[in-house]
Symmetry: C4
Subunit: 278 residues, 4 copies
């Protein structure tokens, strides 16, 4: 392998490696983050006909440009991965690197475009779903976003409690929806047509959303509905409380760490990123 | 009594006794748990006509199979109960054992089926209610589910606070609904036809569900409605806060206990179960 | 004054005085509490035509009976008040006693009946309002109910915080409703007819009730509505949090006190009552 | 400059300076506060036609009176500002003083009136917006209101946590709305016409307002809607929890400080005001 190419690979590796990229790495990070956000905004705006139709060409050009950049990013990451001690081995190392969750997300962000272009196994329904798939590019943000990382950490940390709370809520939903179905289906057979259909109403009631598309009309149905709504506040707030408590603790710790070494705030931040990425 | 039968009874007792069942007991527990969940799912799905009608035969066969298993389970539990020191006495011991809450649940899970089959005192309304009664089989899960046990414990532990909070909410509901009735019944006599009918609206407002089927239209009614909604957040959140605080504490203790002896996690779990069951 | 009458007055005083009534006082308390609850239930049920009409005579007899009992209670309290050291003086002492808040509530619970009977200044509207006024008898419960006393105490204790939170919520409501009015009134002049009318919608949104009778339809109105709803969760939950925290603390203290002296639970309870009543 | 005028300027400066105004300053503060509240009430009431039309003349006179008072207040503040050590310099000092946020609010509270009167660049739409602009006078309250100051402080103190929570909520909203759009737009193209339109529904669901103007009708849409509603409770409650915790802490500190020196309560209060104003 040529020395020049090897030097380039080392430099590329540094740009994408956390904590080592220097100024160029810092700007690359920001450029990709902004491009992801611009991509998601484009998908959202492209569903508004009055916005999409006059600028259809522009939207398509931007899509091609984005895929090009993300492809260069993906190829660069995989190509330069062998510079890391744990991924030596021209093929085996790169394959192990490419099977890390964040790298799979990177691949999924561009693969659908190439499948559509080549036209293998593509029909209209696939093309329609393609727009939705482009939203998965948001997941690429996980590499940079403290918010996503924090939530991932909280979910993992409070798993046991969350499972208990979710299971208890599931029980409450099944029982209340079944009782409601047996009471109301006699009077409103169209609305409360089955227990699964009543469950949708049950979620609306228990989360206090109350869409107003279905509600009990019998005396006993309203009584059960009232009891359910009151219980719903208590029960459905539990996962929320658990998440909130975990989140508060997690951000407090994170911010405390930063405060302890105010001159190296960035260092700490990147170190944490590295831990997650590797 | 024959020695072989006595050995079998001892073995059966062990299978159903917490902490002593070994591998066979462990699999039996899981089998019954899954059967309960499958039963409840079957009841739910059987209310969807498009699912039930093509598979009616299958649903009925599954019901018969389930009742058979639950009957064997119930009979085995009662028959082998005399092996325990506290339930000696062929008839008196078994009767005392059979009157424990969890055993009554076991009986209720199968009895309706036999009443329907024998046809004593059965009419169409009873057969209809039978499906609902089958949902009570969920209560059988109480023997295995930490979530249900935790909630039972929390409710008992916070009883005094909950009673005060529920009573205060009841007062708020009575007062706000009565005032609303006297204001709105003059303008909307069909909607706000009586205080009990207005209470239904009151619960929807106080729990912030807001179904949209009834709402005040007069200026003073809307003013009272606004005050009520604001108070409702504060007051109806109280039982929720009490439950959440109790639940958090309970799970924290439970998880801590487990963490203290990581090599005997199952032991701790079963020991707690035993306390509850006896 | 005769000795026999004086003895009776002393005994009557003891029956109604907290902590001194003995068994007779205890039963009197319970009898009056149950009568209050029965009264309120009667008022609520009497608004349901299908319940009231067949039993109209019974409802009226019960009302006369209740007023008679409450009148005897009121007269007995005032008459025997002079037995207390701080209310000596046949007329001045009794007047001072009768002007205490709980005694005024006692008077208001019976006075409307006598006004209606004598027919002075009575028209049909007054008779209609009479039913509502009867609900104020609930306030008589304040003498016995820990829940009402606790809330009274919490409101007093957290007054400063609550005032700040309520003021901040008022500001948010005024600003959001005004902005919403200026945006939506051009498109939906009937629904968003004025700022006060829009405020009703604002409360429904900020408390997350969302009745569905009014909602923004313009893009900017929906944007403001979305921001408002998100802010509403944060802001309108504040008074709730303050109340809940105060309530938790209050009940904890109360229950702790009781636990410290388990053999005189009733004593503590009555002592607190006495403090509040005097 | 004449000695008499200089004395007047010093006295005017004292009236408006926190902590130095004495009795006259105290009454001036209260007069301006009440005038602000009266102004906002006038704007709100003037949108009710049945109130505005009979008293149109009175509303206009009150507006002229208010602008006059606020103009005198503004001119007095700027004119006397040079008395402060940090704003010496007849023009440069006053300009620096006039560019402080609270002074800009003071200017914005009166400027629109003069623009409308002079008629430069004024059309009907501007006159309509004028009424709304008058509501900005509420911001003048910031100088006196502890509630507004407390919230400003809390927002600044919890900025980092709030940014993470808001960003996470934004992600949840984008993802859930996009998924909902792709599911429901096929069945209800009028309601779920684009992702931004669906986002409005998403906010209503995630904040549990549930207006009832748009809701999913397909099975999968309802499933996503249910998941979203449950997540919404957890996620959208986070900023609320952060704000509430910050607010609790802030008011506790503030009230504690006051309690420590009960004889100079006002001093502490004004000292804090001064810090914020300068």
């Amino acid at each position: 392998m040529q020395g020049g190419l090897r030097d380039l690979r080392k430099q590329v590796y540094r740009i994408f490696a956390p904590r080592k990229g220097g100024k160029l790495g810092y700007y690359t990070d920001w450029f990709i983050m902004l491009l992801i956000i611009a991509n998601v905004s484009a998908v959202i705006l492209s569903t508004v006909d009055t916005i999409y139709e006059p600028y259809a060409q522009m939207f398509q050009s931007f899509e091609i440009f984005s895929v090009a950049v993300f492809t260069i990013e993906y190829v660069s990451r995989v190509w330069s991965a062998v510079e890391a001690d744990e991924y030596t081995g021209a093929i085996s190392g790169r394959l192990r690197f490419a099977s890390r969750p964040l790298l799979i997300v990177d691949l999924l962000a561009i693969a659908p475009f190439y499948i559509a272009v080549t036209g293998i196994g593509v029909d209209l329904r696939f093309l329609r779903a393609l727009r939705l798939i482009r939203l998965f590019r948001l997941l690429k943000l996980a590499r940079y976003s403290t918010a996503i990382q924090t939530f991932g950490w909280v979910l993992k940390d409070r798993k046991e409690k969350l499972v208990i709370a979710v299971f208890a809520n599931g029980l409450l939903l099944v029982v209340s929806s079944s009782v409601m179905y047996f009471i109301e289906s006699a009077v409103q057979p169209d609305q409360f047509s089955s227990i699964p259909a009543t469950m949708w109403r049950g979620v609306a009631a228990l989360t206090t959303v109350g869409y107003g598309d279905m509600y009990p009309v019998t005396m006993s149905g309203q009584f059960v509905g009232a009891i359910t709504a009151v219980l719903g506040i208590g029960m459905f707030a539990l996962p929320a409380s658990i998440l909130a408590a975990g989140f508060m603790e997690a951000t407090e710790n994170k911010l405390d760490e930063r405060k302890q070494c105010p001159h190296c705030e960035k260092e700490v931040h990147l170190e944490q990123l590295e831990k997650i990425e590797q």
